[in-house]
Amino acid sequence: MIRALCLAAVLLLALAAPAAAHNVTAGADLRLAQTIGGAEITLVIKGTPRVPGPLRIGVAAFDGAAFDGAAGLPVRLEVRSLTGGGTTTGVARAAAEPEYAELRVEETGPHELTVRAGGETSVVPFRVLVDRGSPGQFLIYGGLFAAGLLLVGGLLTGAVARRGPAMLLAAGAAAGVTVAAMVVVFEPFVPPGPPDGAAPSADTLLAGGRPYAQGRFGTAPAQPVAGQEFTLTLDLVDGATGRPVDDLVSHHEALAHLIVTSEDGRYFRHVHPLRTAPGRLEVRLRADRPGRYLAHAELEREDSGGQLLAGAFTVGGEPGDADGTAGAAGSPLLRPAVPVAGRPTTIEVAADSPVRPWLGMSGHLIVRSQDGSFLGHVHEMGAPGTRLRFTFSFPRAGRYLAWAQHATTDHIVTRPFAVDVAEAR
């Protein structure tokens, strides 16, 4: 019986937690990486404690055009309410330490942030939530306040030697203190109500996860030419309803992490495509050599786990001068020196200091099997000093291409290397 009660209490508490889908609350910023206007930036939307109220949006720059000019890349922002329809605009400059533009929100609930920079536009849906005061706090402060008043009244009445009323007032004060104390003890067990502006949620436990998303990669123009800019598109469709998938949540600080590599691994890009319409992601790229390219998108739907979508495209034209290599080759320290399939391998890579957290982590390691059929994304595990340490179990023997990435003050460092994995004996 006690176990059943405990389980019920745990379930209640678990269900009361609001879904983390692009919610902006005071104290919980929404961070979203975007590859826009030739720059790698992270939007930071700060929560507001009340509505109508200020909504502060900053743009943290990590790489590219944002550092070309002295003043920083101007990013035009527009916030539109999807319930009231009101809009406000502002301009934030991308900088290593974000400067905040102050916009306004008139109400809680669903909103859309339109971001324009360098001729590109992205539309980010989000929800403004404002915490409602808890009824428990009202009872605690109310009870104590009443107790204080009654106590003073009781003392005064007692002083003028009227015992009956003095006792009654003192009893009232005791009752007030009792209510406050009871609420202080029991409030943590009562689930808080949903914040103002939260999406409706069902009380029943749902089967875990939403249907899979089908991804279709495309390019505009249909045949990209080496050395010329093109747009890589990703159309997402719900596998069960055929509707566009428009419920992506921030997965490691981005709607999607898109890894584009040439088949031989000499070209590597880790970008964060822009949402241009429901179910559509786009990013501008340039490849320097003709050939076949692989695209892997890592994303997460609301109330679901992460998933990986893969595709390929070809680039035509003549080879350009640049080789498109992402950076100076890394010389990783492997333990064991010859990694064994299926067993954990520790990989240490030297980093340029100062290492700055990027996408919520100090380092990222992208691992691709040579044929492109496997892709892994590993996070740095807190090595001391200026080294990045990753632990990964290579699933099968063979050659893997790897890229270790981290951010410094004004750019993202990518160190490519290859790992030969031996068969387990």
Partner: protein
């Protein structure tokens, strides 16, 4: 005196029960959805499974046709689109079996008119058929 206190306690308990009951059963839903071209006020008198009516008032923009469809993202359910009838200028009603089970549904309202076509979506919580 004691009777009075007992009576007051009973009334308080009744009010508390009523409030709790009202919070559990779902009442009519009123929502607004602002698109770029059209703004709508959506009313569901009975947000429940089974045959139900969705009232759409086009509060800004000039819409000729309005159609309503629903999908439940968590389960991967979708129901057929229901064309809405124009009862009065700017006031449309779509009647049909839009929600097949309880839970949170995306209610999509597709509007078209001289300004073009646009779909606005609201989230609705559907409860048991009373």
């Amino acid at each position: 005196m004691k009777r009075l206190i007992a009576l007051a306690a009973l009334i308080l308990a009744a009010v508390a029960l009523f409030a709790a009951g009202a919070a559990l059963t779902s009442g009519p839903l009123d929502l607004t959805a602002a698109g770029v071209r059209y703004t709508t006020a959506v009313h569901l008198e009975r947000p429940a499974t089974g045959r139900t009516a969705v009232e759409v008032r086009v509060t800004s923009g000039d819409a000729d046709t309005v159609a309503v469809s629903a999908a439940m993202p968590s389960m991967g359910h979708a129901t057929p689109e229901v064309a809405a009838e124009e009862r009065e200028p700017g006031h449309y009603v779509a009647e049909g079996e839009l929600f097949t089970m309880t839970g949170v549904w995306d209610l999509s309202i597709r509007l078209s008119g001289p300004a073009g076509e646009e779909t606005v979506t609201v989230k609705v919580l559907i409860s048991e058929d009373p």
